[in-house]
């Protein structure tokens, strides 16, 4: 499977956090915890942080537009980190080691801070902190764990090259949208061609369809904008609900993502039509990347 295994170990193993830079951290924090259902944890340095599973934190919000936004990708170990650094530099990507302060801020042991071709900040980290206490959310949204991300990409060929250097593989295509596989799941990262860079959504796995639907009605009752769903991706079988909070923050509930089979297969190409993005018939409202036209 993953072609660029470092011996038997993959270079990267998970998407472990997202850091958002937002204009109104307090309003966003209320949305993330009370509405979406993540557990708020003690904040530091003006950051508000949240848990979604047994990790110490998987989401943080800060006002720092310059350095507050990034996506954490867990590397296997320091050797993998070094390998990644060499590969990225060799291909002309900007990479630098994180300072101890930056590592502490991210709750990781060591890190390389990289930019993809679109300018999305990707933190390659080792040993992200776990918590000994179990995840206890403010409401029963059914969240099981942080699942993955959707990224906006303005240079999809170069961005794809970036992820391939880390060992990610395209599981399937919808038009030029690439679903990237880094572990046993169909995908953890999706690259959406866009006019601007940035995090499109952070997705959280819930127990089952029941929780997707319960959350859907909960959002309607609380007058939260549902940007798409409930729906189901034909390629990955993933059932999803994308909701939008303040500052255009899109968070998603997902469940049922297909596992990658034992036998390797080439990525399948789906046409860039609405039915390739949702086979139940839901359509994106106001977020062009999630729609078929982009």
């Amino acid at each position: 499977m993953i072609a660029v295994l470092n011996g038997t170990k993959p270079l990267i193993t998970s998407v472990c956090y997202v850091r958002y830079a937002v204009k109104e951290p307090q309003a966003c924090a209320r949305f993330v915890s009370e509405i979406f259902g993540l557990q708020q944890v003690a904040s530091q340095d003006g950051e508000v942080a949240f848990r979604s599973d047994d990790r110490f934190r998987t989401v943080s919000l800060s006002r720092d537009q310059a350095d507050g936004a990034s996506i954490g990708i867990e590397a296997w170990d320091d050797a993998a980190l070094q390998e990644i650094g060499e590969r990225l530099r060799a291909q002309g990507f900007a990479v630098r080691p994180a300072s101890p302060d930056e590592c502490q801020q991210r709750y990781v042991q060591s890190a390389l801070l990289a930019d993809d071709a679109s300018g999305n900040r990707i933190d390659l980290v080792t040993r992200p902190t776990r918590s000994g206490r179990r995840y206890f959310p403010p409401r029963d949204a059914g969240i099981v764990q942080f699942q993955g991300v959707g990224l906006r990409s303005i240079d999809h060929a170069r961005d794809l090259a970036f992820w391939r250097l880390l060992g990610a593989e395209v599981a399937d295509w919808v038009g030029d949208i690439a679903y990237l596989r880094i572990d046993h799941l169909h995908h953890r990262i999706a690259l959406y061609p866009s006019q601007r860079p940035g995090l499109l959504y952070a997705a959280f796995e819930v127990e089952a369809l029941d929780q997707i639907m319960q959350n859907s009605y909960y959002m309607q009752e609380n007058q939260v904008k549902i940007v798409q769903g409930p729906g189901r991706q034909p390629a990955s079988q993933q059932i999803f609900l994308h909701v939008e909070g303040p500052d255009g923050l899109i968070l998603s509930y997902v469940t049922g993502t297909a596992e990658a089979g034992g036998r390797p297969r080439p990525p399948r190409q789906f046409p860039p039509t609405a039915s390739s993005l949702c086979n139940w018939g839901s359509e994106s409202k106001g977020v062009s990347e999630l729609g078929a036209q982009s």
């Binding site: 029941d210 639907m213 319960q214 009605y217 409930p230 139940w280 018939g281």
Partner: protein, 286 residues
């Protein structure tokens, strides 16, 4: 005791068969089995028909239930007559129109028109839907009841129905292993409250939700999930105000002897555990 085996068909009067056909094929997704002079026969499974629209008054609504054989039918007629229900013995021509060997008609205590039938026809050809709604078959009906406690006694004590669960005073009753074949709903007058078709998967329920919404078919409840039977459901309105339901995953009662009906409160969460609220249905809407 009358032994009902299964629900067999629904017959609905309609002033506009063309409209009924349009809805049944383009929206509901049934297959046209046959167009008679004044009848439209529709299939949903391997039976030759499970829904029949007849030119006439939409208030004329009949539910047919299958019984074992002609002897059972004679016994049923005798039982019902002894209880004071007027029994109509179907003529050969009427039986032909229903595609059954023989039948009797009567009214339940609320006045619902019920038929008991023997040997309803099956079809040698498989069901081939007019649209891919994922329908696997006709499964149950909701019946209006002017007095659910009285009607529950009628259905359980005379017709061998068993209560699987209750929501308030609404009994969900089974006549075979399937969680319910008859649901009684309190209403001011007799009538069919809804007609259920099973679909293949929850994907079908959600797909139909988007499909029907786009075609401006009024969704009256759902998509949702019943905590009683576990079924994922969608209710929507067809011609003459008739409510149709798609559902999937209705529980089966594994142990007939030891199953104890559960009591659910008469409140929205007893009807839907996802949080959908009924609109335009006679259910609580808090």
């Amino acid at each position: 005791m009358i032994q009902l085996k299964d629900v067999s068909y629904v017959r609905l009067g309609s002033p506009d068969l063309e409209q009924a056909e349009q809805f049944a094929t383009a929206c509901l997704g049934l297959q046209i089995a046959e167009r008679g002079k004044a009848d439209l026969y529709l299939r949903s499974d391997d039976r030759s028909h499970t829904l029949c629209y007849s030119e006439g008054n939409p208030k004329d609504q009949t539910v047919g239930f299958e019984v074992d054989d002609e002897a059972s039918l004679q016994n049923a007629a005798a039982t019902l007559e002894a209880l004071g229900h007027g029994v109509h013995a179907g003529t050969a021509e009427e039986a032909d129109r229903r595609k059954v060997k023989a039948f009797i008609g009567f009214r339940d205590p609320s006045g619902n028109h019920i038929e008991l039938v023997v040997r309803p026809e099956r079809s040698g050809r498989r069901y081939f839907a007019s649209r891919d709604a994922g329908i696997t078959g006709f499964s149950h009906v909701g019946l209006n009841s002017t007095d659910p406690a009285r009607d529950e006694r009628f259905w359980t004590q005379i017709c061998n129905a068993r209560v699987s669960d209750r929501i308030g005073d609404i009994p969900l009753m089974r006549v075979n292993a399937i969680h319910h074949t008859i649901a009684l709903v309190r209403a001011p007058q007799a009538g069919i409250q809804h007609i259920n078709h099973q679909v293949e998967s929850s994907d079908d329920v959600l797909r139909s939700y988007h499909f029907l919404n786009e075609r401006r078919v009024p969704i009256v409840f759902g998509p949702g999930r019943h905590p009683t039977s576990g079924a994922r459901f969608l209710y929507f309105k067809g011609p003459d105000g008739m409510i149709f339901e798609y559902s999937v995953g209705v529980d089966e009662i594994e142990d007939e002897a030891t199953h104890r009906p559960r009591q659910f409160g008469f409140e929205p969460t007893s009807f839907c555990m996802w949080g959908s609220k009924p609109a335009g249905m006679t259910l609580p809407n808090k």
